[in-house]
Symmetry: C2
Subunit: 150 residues, 2 copies
């Protein structure tokens, strides 16, 4: 794992990030890999917001993992700032070798640095392997995640 | 319902918002109502971030409901911006009279105005009444919500 770098994502990473999103069987139908225009537009919105932390894990110059941290100040839990982790993806060829753990441990430490007292994420109910993974890291699956497409 | 106003929260609303947070049996142990200092500090962080929308519902000059919308740009789902709804609370005396529905319908419409293609929230697994409420509004409880206190 010596050659692994975890760093902020740049626009140059977008094709590789979209490839990771598309490789995900649960989410592939939601993506539009033949036209990257909406991803570049979204990256501009992300880059304009200092509370967004789009991130890639790079090994030997290749993007092998990605996630995004969002810092959300709030009143509940005695004014606790929380970090929400979204779009966690690890390249299929890297699975089972500890990259997911490294990436999430990085995310947890970074969340602390960013002033968060709580880190949270949602995972599709069908991703049972991912649920065990998050529980091993110390997350508690205490909530139901509700979503509505607009 | 004619006298109901839904508007951005101000620092003056903090005592009433904390009272709503404390009145919630599931979450009361996480709050510190005897010292509002951390809530005022948190409100400054919220007010400094244009992507946070702390909100109150006011009837006859009294805060009877609250929620916070957070706008999060992202790459997944073809660059969809999402709104996360947190800290939804309705005064006990208002329940069953449609205020929760009005407040959430406001949140959904406001999310559209804010450019979101997805609105999402998590609800503690024990809040089964809330789950039915969100499903009636059109939310799908497709995910598990994982949290870790730091």
């Amino acid at each position: 794992m010596n050659d692994l770098v975890i760093r902020p994502a740049t626009p140059e990473d977008i094709p590789a990030i979209v490839a990771l999103l598309v490789a995900d069987s649960v989410a592939v139908s939601r993506e539009s890999p033949d036209d990257l225009t909406p991803y570049y537009a979204a990256f501009e919105r992300i880059a304009a917001d200092p509370h967004q932390h789009p991130t890639v894990a790079v090994r030997d110059g290749r993007v092998v993992g990605t996630l995004q941290l969002s810092v959300i100040p709030g009143l509940s839990r005695a004014g606790t700032t929380r970090v929400i982790v979204e779009a966690v993806r690890v390249h299929a060829g890297e699975r089972g070798q500890g990259l997911g753990t490294l990436l999430m441990e990085w995310a947890i430490n970074r969340s602390r640095e960013l002033g968060a007292g709580l880190v949270q994420l949602t995972s599709d109910s069908v991703r049972t392997d991912a649920h065990r993974f998050y529980e091993r890291l110390g997350f508690v699956g205490s909530h139901i995640g509700f979503k509505m497409t607009l």
